[in-house]
Symmetry: C2
Subunit: 351 residues, 2 copies
């Protein structure tokens, strides 16, 4: 198949409240250089699709208030490839909108759906997996998810149960599992029949259109009704008017749990959803005392198991902390125990 | 006596290394609004002498590199009243220089010598004590120090042993004591015959000149030799040339410990030398958990006995710290245990 049929849809409307103060409602984590690499998570996400399709085939779905951030961070992205959701309706309506729009102009399109705020450390393996996956979805009516081989009994991810070993790398999905408790996560890890659900999906527009018509007929109808306005000056007004009528539902619930033709590609390319400070700590290079430092000039004295992330222009001495998060973004600071990170949203209130 | 004979000498050449990162070699603590009052310590020091003498009679002795900070922070101070020491030679040469200069033009002058980086909370009582002290030094050949009534067995201050109770508030000094250990400090506190040495001195230029001639004849001779250049364009060059020849010695060692006519005015006007973060914590308003917050918007969650001092434009959430200093100045941060504050100079190295 031609590379020109490949399209990448990047969902960049999330608000990342668990990463405060680096992530704020005005500038969520996808727009921040969380890892201190010099690129924001959104920019790194686009970068890793460099060999998958040309920039004209990359679509970013976000909210109006983030439009200028996307434009600023992705200057090479055609402005018309930025799609604006008038409100948050979870992933299914977002996926439907962009699928309906793309299929009008590119009925042969073969899509990858990706979050904008995840991390991949092995980009070469990622590239290989995406290309192999796109070959698979181009060759038949297949819905493909990327499953990450679990390395720990993580309770922060959903899991995918895979079937008996099949030829090739791609396997049939047996079932999707919600975030498990620790005991369940341990049995998943031991059984070797479960992968983490990365939320990266691949399908042709034909396949996903058919799936929506079958399992979400109302939503299909709603986007059918706007067929005439895609790529016209009327599009945004129509979307602003009708998109809010969509049910607030994830693509997992809307499609995955119903369709029979769901496959998983178990892979290992150093993926993290970077959902928590703990996952950032996990992912970062650490010193002998298990401290991770990202950003400015930081001197740690008698510290253990800490993660310090401050702006590149900051300097900091930290003495005598064990198991703490120390974070700064734009003059807003957080110091808290790592064990309390699930309370960060509470801490951030009123700040 | 006329108020116009009163002169105030403010020593503003210190480097305040124990207050890093708020205090830096480029901008030591006297030039910083440490208490978050909107005024720097130097400005507050000048303010509390408002009723003692006119601005033309206030002299600030500092280093060349701090000259522009003094000019900026004290715009009403005549530029010619800023005296520049070419190097740090402790307090005695500084006192001699300014005394010799003042006596050339104002032989009847009656002086107060004060640090620039201390705190006084009861400015009305301070004003009363200074005026009473100046009356005393104007009336005879008396060297007067202000002794602070101790409220705790502080080991960070020198002490002054006072004699048997005499008429009036001013008493004869029996001896000066170095910073004591805790046990000794406790006996001082119990005996009630000791005050803290505030380092605030009062004397007429006649008295201090005579004392220097008697106990520091070489220094007196050195400043005599420059008699012709004070208030001329040659002054700075001569001082730069000769001041470094002075012995590095404090006024306490140079004069106080030798002269017989030394008196102390035990007083209580809420004084602190603000020498440490602990003293700032002591001095600050605290919440029910004994936390003191100065500066920006700070939310403390499950914190006890902490002092947090950040810039007014910063926001911070601190969770789960007990007995810590959290400080910021100009993008440089310190987090350390209060018990380790004597190591701050070490922490600051290389930052």
């Amino acid at each position: 198949m031609s590379m020109n049929n490949n399209h990448v849809v990047i969902m960049a409307g999330g608000i990342g409240s668990r990463f405060w103060p680096m992530s704020t409602p005005e500038k969520p984590k996808q727009f921040i250089d969380i890892l201190g690499t010099g690129k924001t998570l959104l920019q790194s996400t686009v970068d890793r699709f460099r060999n998958v399709c040309p920039m004209q085939n990359i679509w970013v779905v976000t909210a109006l208030k983030f439009k200028s951030l996307v434009e600023e961070q992705l200057p090479e992205l055609p402005r018309s490839n930025i799609l604006l959701e008038p409100c948050m309706r979870n992933t299914a309506p977002c996926v439907a909108y962009v699928a309906w729009k793309i299929k009008k102009k590119y009925p042969e399109a073969n899509l990858v759906i990706s979050a904008s705020d995840h991390v991949v450390t092995d980009v070469f393996e990622f590239d290989r997996v995406i290309h192999a996956g796109l070959d698979f979805t181009a060759s038949g009516d297949h819905i493909l998810t990327l499953g990450m081989r679990p390395t720990r009994p993580e309770t922060g991810y959903g899991y995918i149960q895979v079937g008996a070993e099949q030829a090739g790398e791609i396997q049939k999905v047996v079932s999707f599992k919600e975030k498990p408790d620790l005991e369940t996560a341990k049995t998943y890890l031991e059984s070797r029949n479960f992968t983490w659900n990365s939320g990266i999906f691949l399908w042709s527009v034909r396949t996903i259109e058919k799936a929506f018509r079958t399992y979400q007929p109302k939503m299909a109808e709603l986007f059918d009704s706007m067929e005439a306005v895609y790529y016209t000056s009327e599009e945004q007004r129509a979307i602003d008017d009708k998109f809010p009528c969509c049910e607030k539902i994830s693509i997992d619930y809307a499609i995955m749990e119903h369709a029979p033709n769901i496959y998983v590609f178990p892979a290992d390319f150093g993926w993290s959803d970077l959902g928590t400070w703990g996952s950032l700590h996990e992912l970062s290079r650490k010193d002998e005392q298990n401290n991770a430092v990202i950003g400015g000039q930081v001197k740690l004295v008698e510290c253990d198991d800490c993660i310090v992330r401050i702006g590149a222009d900051r300097k900091m001495v930290v003495q005598g902390l064990e198991g703490y998060i120390v974070a700064e973004q734009g003059g807003v600071f957080l110091i808290c125990k790592k064990t309390e990170e699930q309370r960060i949203k509470e801490f951030s209130e009123g700040m």
